[in-house]
């Protein structure tokens, strides 16, 4: 066989996912989608992760983001936290296992968990700034973002970050632009050891079951899947060798839940306080123009509580019973 030319490769670039697939839209209602996309998930197998940061690198490259060159503060975590540009971050923990005295280097890729019941979206007062597709992708639509920071408050995983440059919130999109053309997220594609894999949620759960079996055979009796029910499950899941102790992995919440405050206040925005919040949002834009970043404060929380208390029928809502339309 003679090949003396660079063989051509055709790329399909037609995006086939869009607003018609929204099942939630912040501070607004969406019609019942005509089709239901199959749920997707990214599975991060911490036991296969070598902490190489290929995911961070691929994320920066795919999303055309760049970060400031920082400094070393005595650890391998760089940058030192998630930022509006660093949407995913390896967090390194040196943990000594009490049972056998062995050192374990726990390395967790941190980033948006794409909760089935997304606290950020529920907290968001800006119509259409946060959307959820029927396949589970939770995406920020920056054109609609007012930079109020409520999503940060609403997130049980402390993920969204507000940009000082444009006062908008940023987090992992699960590479919605790639998924829309049938490709997996950039991090999952790059991951050398396939510690990060992507597929339908069912496939990922089945794959996780295999991995857990393997880990148990290697003496990790508590190996398990992290798909926390407190947020309705997530579309980013972890295989943990010590699933009984999520917090040892750089503070992964043991049992994440949306703050009751946000749950309650969410009810207000949707059923009672929408007009009011619209005014607040408009005021927020003016406020930002003057003073820059606008974050949730204690006062905001108090205000939310007050509104909640005053709102008719103000009970925490069961998110599963929220009307789709």
């Amino acid at each position: 066989m003679t090949i003396n030319v660079n063989p051509p490769v055709a790329a399909d670039t037609q995006q086939q996912m869009g607003p018609q697939d929204y099942i939630r839209r912040s501070a607004s209602t969406v019609p019942e989608p005509a089709r239901k996309l199959e749920a997707v998930a990214k599975l991060i197998d911490v036991s296969k992760c070598i902490g190489c940061k290929a995911c961070q690198s691929a994320c920066l490259e795919w999303n055309d983001l760049r970060e400031e060159v920082g400094v070393n503060v005595g650890v391998y975590d760089n940058p030192h936290d998630l930022t509006p540009n660093t949407l995913t971050l390896m967090r390194f923990t040196e943990w000594v296992n009490d049972e056998n005295g062995n050192l374990e280097w726990l390395i967790r890729k941190d980033g948006c968990m794409h909760c089935s019941d997304p606290g950020c979206l529920k907290a968001c007062p800006a119509p259409g700034a946060i959307v959820q597709y029927s396949n589970g992708v939770v995406d920020f639509v920056k054109e609609n973002c007012i930079g109020c920071g409520y999503c940060v408050q609403g997130c049980p995983f402390n993920i969204p970050r507000i940009s000082k440059v444009d006062n908008r919130a940023y987090k992992c999109t699960l590479c919605s632009d790639r998924i829309a053309v049938g490709q997996g997220p950039a991090c999952a594609k790059a991951c050398p050891t396939k510690a990060i894999v992507f597929g339908t949620k069912e496939e990922m759960k089945a794959h996780a079951a295999n991995r857990i079996e393997d880990l148990k055979s290697r003496g990790f009796a508590n190996a398990g899947l992290y798909d926390p029910p407190g947020v309705g499950g997530t579309h980013v899941m972890y295989v943990l060798h010590h699933a009984d102790k999520p917090t040892i992995y750089a503070g992964l919440p043991d049992n994440p839940r949306i703050s009751p405050v946000v749950e309650a206040w969410k009810g207000v925005t949707k059923y009672a306080g929408l007009a009011l919040m619209g005014v607040a949002a408009a005021a927020g834009v003016v406020h930002m123009a003057i003073s820059g970043r606008n974050r949730v404060t204690v006062e905001d929380d108090d205000e939310a509580r007050r509104l909640t208390a005053q709102a008719p029928g103000a009970q925490p809502l069961d998110p599963d019973k929220e009307p789709m339309a």
Partner: protein
């Protein structure tokens, strides 16, 4: 097994047929609008894909460089780079260095002009290729003629040029390597080495 999942369903993306199948697996219907509200436009649309190899370590991962412009017209520029899913070794994956190769290609510290630093100077100055190559060839000839060892003390022809050395690269192609070999050896250089050890 895990790798196969990713390959089969999501990463192939190499042909329209494959991609359509994948989308079908997600429950997507037929093609809809090209521009989709709320989504970032797919940035590889309209790019040329070229197979290449990562220049860093010896795993030699296959990469695909996405470029715009026409290389035959001198206008081709890389805009993105990803792992080649068809490559048996890396299967589309890349390490943190390979995944950032675009920043290597576009590094601010890429060299774009020949320069010379004169004896005692504290700065580089630009020089034309012709001038630089002429001067270097003159240096080589003068040094070779002054120091070449034709015969050793026993009168045996040894043909050594020991006073100029050549360190060959480690990421150039075999073809560069052999051309370099021919030039360096024919001149009689013995202090010839590469980066195999360091």
């Amino acid at each position: 097994m895990n790798m196969e999942i990713s390959r089969r369903n999501f990463l192939k993306g190499a042909g329209a047929g494959v991609a359509a199948t994948t989308i079908g697996a997600f429950g997507f219907g037929e093609a809809e609008a090209a521009f989709v509200e709320g989504l970032r436009a797919y940035k590889l649309a309209g790019t040329t894909e070229t197979r290449n190899t990562c220049p860093y370590c010896s795993v030699a991962c296959g990469v695909i460089i996405y470029s715009k412009g026409d290389i035959t017209q001198g206008t081709a520029k890389a805009v993105h780079l990803e792992g080649d899913v068809d490559h048996p070794t890396n299967r589309g994956t890349l390490c943190p260095k390979g995944a950032a190769l675009l920043d290597f290609i576009k590094s601010e510290t890429r060299l774009t002009k020949p320069k010379v630093r004169r004896a005692g100077s504290d700065k580089f100055e630009e020089i034309s290729w012709t001038q630089a190559l002429d001067e270097i060839a003159r240096h080589m000839k003068d040094d070779r003629d002054a120091n070449f060892i034709e015969r050793n003390m026993d009168g045996v022809p040894v043909n050594r040029w020991t006073s100029t050395g050549f360190l060959a690269a480690s990421a150039t192609t075999n073809e560069t390597a052999f051309l370099t070999y021919k030039v360096v050896r024919s001149a009689g250089i013995v202090a010839f080495d590469n980066q195999a050890r360091v």
